[in-house]
C-alpha cells in the first residue's frame, strides 16, 4: 500500500501549521514502508489533539481515555500479540495524568510503540502548562511562569525500562519516518518523543525556534548518528556495555538549548520481550493467545474439560 492509502476521508480538525500533520504523514509513510495491512495495525489514541490521530488513519483506531492509552494498548497487544500496536498521545496525557502507566509500560518491555507528541502545552484546553514545560517558562496562555520543574521524557523512559528510546521532530519527515519504522520494528517497549510545535499556544518553542538558532544560524536539532553515537546494547552484552550505553543516554538526554539531539538514544537488544516470557510460562500462549481462547463444542458448550479442571477440588 502507498502512504496515501492510509489517509482517511475524515476532515481533519487540527489547526493549520500544527506539528501533528507532520507526524501523521510520517506514520502513513512508515506503515506503507513496513508493508503492513490496515487490519493488522491498531492505533490507540489518548485524549487531546494528538489523541485524535487514529481517526485520520486508515487502520484500526481506538480513541481511549485521558492518560490511559498505554494500558488499553497493552491489553490489546497481550490478547493478540501478532498485531502491530501503536499508542499515541500528548505529553500532558502521557507524563501528567498517565505518568504511572508510562513508567509501568516501560518496565514490561512489551512489543508496542508509544509516540509521544510533545508540544509542552495542553492545547485542546487552550494552552495550560504541560509537565514538560521548564521551570520559569511562560507561554502566552499561562498567567504566570511555571513554578514546577519539568519532566525529561527521555530520562524517564530510560529509568522506566523502555528498551528503545528515540526523539524525532514533527517537521523532519524523512528522519521521523525512519525513527517510527525503527521503533515499530523493535521487539520490545519503544518510546519515541516527537518534538511537535503547537503554533497556537506554544510561542516559546515554535517551528522557527527549533529550526533556527542565532548563534549558528542553523537548526538546533542535530542527528545523534551524525556524531557517531551508537545507541545499541547487543544481545549478549556484558555489564560494562549496559552501563556505558545507559550513561551516554543520560548525558544526551540532558542536552537542550542551542543543540538538541534527535535520533535513537538507547536500544537494549538483550532484554527479553514480555510475550516471549509469557509464552515460557503459558505454553499455549502463541498458538492460543487470549483473543483465541474461547473455544466451543458444536452445541456452543464450553470446551473446557470440567471434570479434569475440578479434580483437585474434589474430595
Amino acid at each position: 500500500m502507498k502512504p496515501k492509502e492510509f489517509e482517511t476521508e475524515i476532515k481533519n480538525d487540527w489547526c493549520a501549521g500544527c506539528g501533528d500533520y507532520g507526524i501523521l504523514r510520517a506514520m502513513e509513510k512508515a506503515f506503507a514502508e513496513l508493508g503492513l495491512a490496515p487490519h493488522q495495525i491498531a492505533v490507540f489514541g489518548g485524549i487531546g489533539c494528538s489523541g485524535k490521530t487514529p481517526y485520520y488513519l486508515e487502520v484500526n483506531g481506538i480513541h481511549t481515555l485521558h492518560g490511559r492509552v498505554l494500558p488499553f494498548a497493552t491489553g490489546a497487544k497481550l490478547a493478540n500479540p501478532t498485531m502491530t500496536v501503536i499508542a499515541v498521545g500528548g505529553d500532558g496525557d502521557g507524563l501528567g495524568i498517565g505518568a504511572g502507566h508510562f513508567v509501568n509500560a516501560g518496565r514490561r518491555n512489551l512489543d508496542l510503540t508509544y509516540l509521544l507528541f510533545n508540544n509542552e502545552v495542553y492545547g485542546l484546553t487552550k494552552g495550560q502548562a504541560a509537565p514538560t514545560i521548564r521551570y520559569g517558562d511562560k507561554t502566552k496562555a499561562m498567567t504566570t511562569a511555571s513554578l514546577q520543574s519539568h519532566i525529561n521524557p527521555v530520562m524517564l523512559a530510560l529509568t522506566s525500562g523502555y528498551t528503545w528510546i528515540g526523539r524525532g521532530y514533527a517537521y523532519y519527515l524523512d528522519q521521523l519516518t525512519t525513527l517510527i519504522i525503527d521503533a515499530i520494528r523493535h521487539k520490545g517497549s519503544a518510546f519515541l518523543e516527537i518534538l511537535q510545535p503547537c503554533p497556537v499556544y506554544n510561542d516559546l518553542h515554535d517551528k522557527h525556534w527549533y529550526e533556527y538558532t542565532a548563534a549558528s544560524g542553523q537548526s538546533r536539532l542535530y542527528a545523534l548518528s551524525d556524531e557517531g553515537y551508537e545507541p545499541s546494547i547487543s544481545v549478549n552484552a556484558d555489564e560494562n556495555m549496559h552501563q556505558e550505553k545507559f550513561a551516554q543516554c543520560v548525558q544526551k538526554a540532558q542536552e537542550w538549548g542551542d543543540r538538541i539531539p534527535v535520533g535513537v538514544f538507547y536500544q537494549d537488544l538483550s532484554a527479553p520481550e514480555f510475550t516471549q516470557q509469557i509464552s515460557q510460562q503459558i505454553k499455549s500462549y502463541r498458538e492460543r493467545p487470549p483473543a483465541k481462547q474461547v473455544r466451543l463444542e458444536q452445541n456452543s458448550k464450553p470446551m473446557v474439560n470440567m471434570q479434569s479442571l475440578l479434580r483437585k477440588f474434589t474430595l
Partner: protein, 639 residues
C-alpha cells in the same frame, strides 16, 4: 444430627487457615457437609483471626454464632469468643495462658476489655483468663487445658529441631485434640496431614508425630470422647471443596477467560492469585489453554487493559474491591460508551476510603448502579452463595458479550472467605453466548462498529480477527465510530445503547433474576440480595419448622432491576421485610424506587460482620409476633 460448629482462634500467622482447612477436609471426608469461614484483621502477623467450621449431615447453608467447641491458640481468643460458646460446649486452651491478666492483652479493644472485666471486678475476682474460664465453667462450658509446651519438647527431642520449628505444629495439634475428642481416628487426621503437606515430607513427619502425641495426651485427660458424628447417615457422593474466590475463578475458566487484570487488594486478590496458579486449563480435545493474568500498576490500568484486550475478542475480566472499583469508574464508562464487553468481579468490603479491608459489607450497591459520569447501560448481578459464584461468573461473560456492555459481578468478603462442600459444578446446561460478532469481511474496508439497530445491538468486529478495520471511541460517535456532536446522532446513539438493557431485561430468564424460597402462602416475605442468602434460607427453614411461615426472595439481577417479576410476587397483603448488610438500606432504596411499594421492616447490619442465623431467627420471630420495630439493626458485641 444438628449442625456442629467448631471454631479456632489465634494470632495471625499461627496457622489458623491451615488448621481450619485440615479440620474441614477431615470432616468432609467422613461424608459430612461442611461450611467454613474466616474472619481476620488487615495485618500480616499477630492480630486476632479465627475460622469457623460448621458441620452437618445435610448441606450447611450458613455460619452460626455459637461454637460447640472453641479452640483458643492464645489468650485473646478466649476473651473474644468465650461468651459465644454454647453452654454444653468445650473450650480448649493453652494451659500457659491461665494467669494472663486481661490488661496485658494490648490488642483487645477497650470496649471489649471493659465488658469482660466488669463482671469479674464486681465479683471481686482477678481479671485474668483463669477467672474468665471459671465463669464459663459455671455456665456449663467444659474448659480443657492443653499443655502444648510439653508436646513441643517431645517433638524437639525426637526430631532434634529448634523450638520455633516444633511450635509450628501448634495448629495441627489443636486440630488433633479436637478430632480425638470428637471420636475421629488419628489415622484419618494423619491422612489429611499428608494430603495438605504433600510436597513437604519433613512437615508430614513432624505433624504426624504431633497428631499421635495429641491423641495420647487426650487419652490421659479422662474425658469421655464425644461422638457427635457416630451413627449419622453420611453422603458418599462426589463433592467439591471450594471457596468463593475459587468458585468465581473456576466459572471464569469454564467461560473461556482469556485475560484477567488486577491490582492487589483485599479481599479480591486471592481470586487472581488462584488464577495465576492455574495456567493450564484442560480442554476436551486434550489440548490446553491458559489465560493471561496481569498484575497492573493500578486499577485504572486494570480495567482499561481488560477493555483493550476485549477489543480483540478475548474474554476479559478484572477483579477488585471497593477502593479499586472507585478508580475503575472512568474505564467502566468507556466500556459503556464503546460497548466493550468487560466483566468486573467486585468483592465488597467495608468502606468508604480504606474502610475495613478484611470485613464484609454490602455497601457498594448504589455506587455500582450509578458509577461513572453520564448515562450508560450496565448489568449488575450478585451471587448469593459459593455455588452461585461459579454459575454467575460464567454467565457474566455471556451477558457482557451478548449485550456488549460492562457487567459488574457483585460479591463480598463474606463469600470470598467462605468455603463449602458442594456438588460438582455442572456445565451441561451452560452455553457460551458470544453475542453478535462480525465474522466475515464484506467488500468494504470498514466495519460500522456502531450500526444502528432496533434492539441496539451492532455486530461486533474484533481487532485483526474480523479483517475489516473499525474505529471505536469514548467520545460520542456516529455509526462508523468517528466523533460526532450532532444532536440527532447523540439522541440515536444514547437510545441505541439503552435499548440493549431493555433487551437484556426481556431475555434474561427468571431464574437468573430472582430465587424464590420458603412458603409461598406465607404472609411474611423477606427480600434480600447477595451473601445473606445462606443465613436467610436457614432462618426461614427454622421459622417454618416452628410454624412461623416465611417466604424469601433473593434478587440476583440487580440491574436491570426485575421490577415486573417482583411485582407479581409482592402481593399487597404481604408484609415485606428487606434485609441487607449496610447502613442506609441501599437495596431498600432501589426496591422502593422501582416498585414504589411500602416496606414494613428493614433488617440491617453494618459492623463489618455478616448476618448470623440465630440473630436472624430472633428478629424474624419478633416480626412474626408483631413486636418488632420497623428498623432492626444487628450487631455482635464481642466478635
Amino acid at each position: 444430627m444438628e449442625n456442629y460448629l467448631w471454631r479456632i482462634g489465634g494470632p495471625q500467622g499461627s496457622g489458623i487457615d491451615r488448621a481450619a482447612l485440615l479440620f474441614s477436609r477431615l470432616c468432609a471426608k467422613q461424608g459430612l457437609y461442611v461450611l467454613a469461614r474466616r474472619e481476620y484483621h488487615s495485618n500480616i502477623t499477630g492480630r486476632h483471626s479465627y475460622s469457623d467450621v460448621r458441620i452437618g449431615t445435610q448441606p450447611v447453608l450458613s455460619h452460626s454464632a455459637s461454637p460447640r467447641m472453641l479452640v483458643c491458640l492464645d489468650a485473646e481468643s478466649v476473651c473474644r469468643h468465650v461468651h459465644n460458646v454454647l453452654s454444653t460446649g468445650y473450650l480448649i486452651y493453652d494451659s500457659h495462658i491461665a494467669d494472663t491478666h486481661l490488661s496485658q492483652l494490648k490488642l483487645l479493644d477497650p470496649l471489649l476489655l471493659e465488658n469482660l472485666c466488669k463482671p469479674l471486678q464486681k465479683a471481686n475476682l482477678n481479671c485474668n483468663i483463669r477467672e474468665l474460664l471459671n465463669l464459663a465453667e459455671q455456665h456449663g462450658i467444659t474448659p480443657i487445658a492443653m499443655d502444648y509446651e510439653t508436646l513441643f519438647q517431645r517433638l524437639r527431642d525426637e526430631f532434634a529441631i529448634p523450638k520455633t520449628n516444633a511450635e509450628r505444629s501448634r495448629n495441627v495439634i489443636a486440630v488433633a485434640i479436637s478430632a480425638a475428642l470428637l471420636g475421629l481416628t488419628s489415622e484419618d487426621v494423619c491422612h489429611e496431614v499428608a494430603e495438605i503437606f504433600h510436597n513437604k515430607p519433613e512437615a508430614v513427619a513432624l505433624n504426624s508425630e504431633a497428631v499421635q502425641l495429641a491423641y495420647d495426651y487426650v487419652a490421659t485427660l479422662g474425658i469421655n470422647v464425644l461422638q457427635p458424628f457416630a451413627n449419622v447417615e453420611v453422603a458418599r457422593d462426589d463433592r467439591l471443596w471450594v471457596n468463593g474466590v475459587q468458585s468465581v475463578a473456576l466459572g471464569k475458566l469454564a467461560a473461556g477467560l482469556g485475560i484477567q487484570t488486577y491490582y492487589p487488594i483485599s479481599p479480591a486478590t486471592d481470586e487472581s492469585v488462584f488464577l495465576e496458579s492455574n495456567y493450564v486449563v484442560p480442554m476436551n480435545d486434550a489440548t490446553h489453554a491458559g489465560p493471561v493474568i496481569i498484575q497492573t500498576e493500578d486499577e485504572l490500568a486494570a480495567i482499561t487493559m481488560a477493555c483493550g484486550a476485549a477489543l480483540t475478542g478475548a474474554r476479559a475480566a478484572t477483579s477488585t474491591s471497593g477502593p479499586g472499583f472507585s478508580l475503575m469508574v472512568e474505564g467502566l464508562g468507556w466500556a459503556g460508551m464503546t460497548e466493550t464487553p468487560v466483566v468486573v468481579s467486585l468483592y465488597q468490603r467495608g468502606g468508604p476510603a480504606t474502610g475495613l479491608p478484611t470485613r464484609t459489607e454490602q455497601g457498594d450497591l448504589q455506587f455500582v448502579l450509578h458509577a461513572g459520569h453520564g448515562e450508560f447501560p450496565r448489568i449488575v448481578l450478585a451471587s448469593g452463595d459459593v455455588e452461585e459464584c461459579f454459575y454467575d461468573a460464567f454467565r457474566a461473560f455471556n451477558y457482557a458479550e451478548r449485550y456488549q456492555l460492562p457487567v459488574i459481578h457483585l460479591l463480598d468478603k463474606n463469600l470470598a472467605s467462605t468455603a463449602q462442600t458442594l456438588p460438582p459444578f455442572v456445565t451441561d446446561d451452560l452455553v457460551i453466548d458470544r453475542g453478535e460478532i462480525l465474522h466475515t469481511a464484506d467488500s468494504s474496508r470498514h466495519a460500522s462498529r456502531f450500526l444502528l439497530s432496533k434492539n441496539g445491538i451492532s455486530p461486533r468486529p474484533l481487532l485483526e480477527e474480523s479483517r475489516q478495520i473499525f474505529w471505536t471511541s469514548g467520545v460520542e460517535h456516529n455509526e462508523t465510530g468517528h466523533v460526532s456532536e450532532s444532536p440527532e446522532v447523540r439522541r440515536r446513539m444514547k437510545e441505541k445503547r439503552e435499548a440493549k438493557l431493555v433487551l437484556a431485561a426481556k431475555e434474561i430468564p427468571l431464574d437468573e433474576k430472582i430465587g424464590v424460597y420458603g412458603d409461598r402462602q406465607a404472609s411474611l416475605m423477606l427480600i434480600s440480595w447477595g451473601s445473606n442468602k445462606g443465613a436467610i434460607l436457614e432462618a426461614i427453614d427454622r421459622m417454618n419448622q416452628e410454624n412461623r411461615p416465611i417466604q424469601a426472595i433473593m434478587v440476583k439481577l440487580l440491574w436491570p432491576f426485575p421490577a415486573r417479576e417482583l411485582e407479581m410476587l409482592v402481593k399487597s397483603n404481604k408484609k415485606l421485610i428487606l434485609l441487607e448488610c449496610n447502613q442506609t438500606g441501599q437495596f431498600s432504596q432501589l426496591f422502593r424506587q422501582e416498585l414504589g411499594c411500602n416496606i414494613n421492616h428493614r433488617l440491617l447490619k453494618y459492623n463489618g460482620r455478616p448476618f448470623v442465623v440465630e440473630e436472624l431467627v430472633q428478629s424474624l420471630t419478633s416480626i412474626f409476633d408483631g413486636t418488632a420495630e420497623e428498623l432492626m439493626i444487628h450487631n455482635n458485641l464481642f466478635e
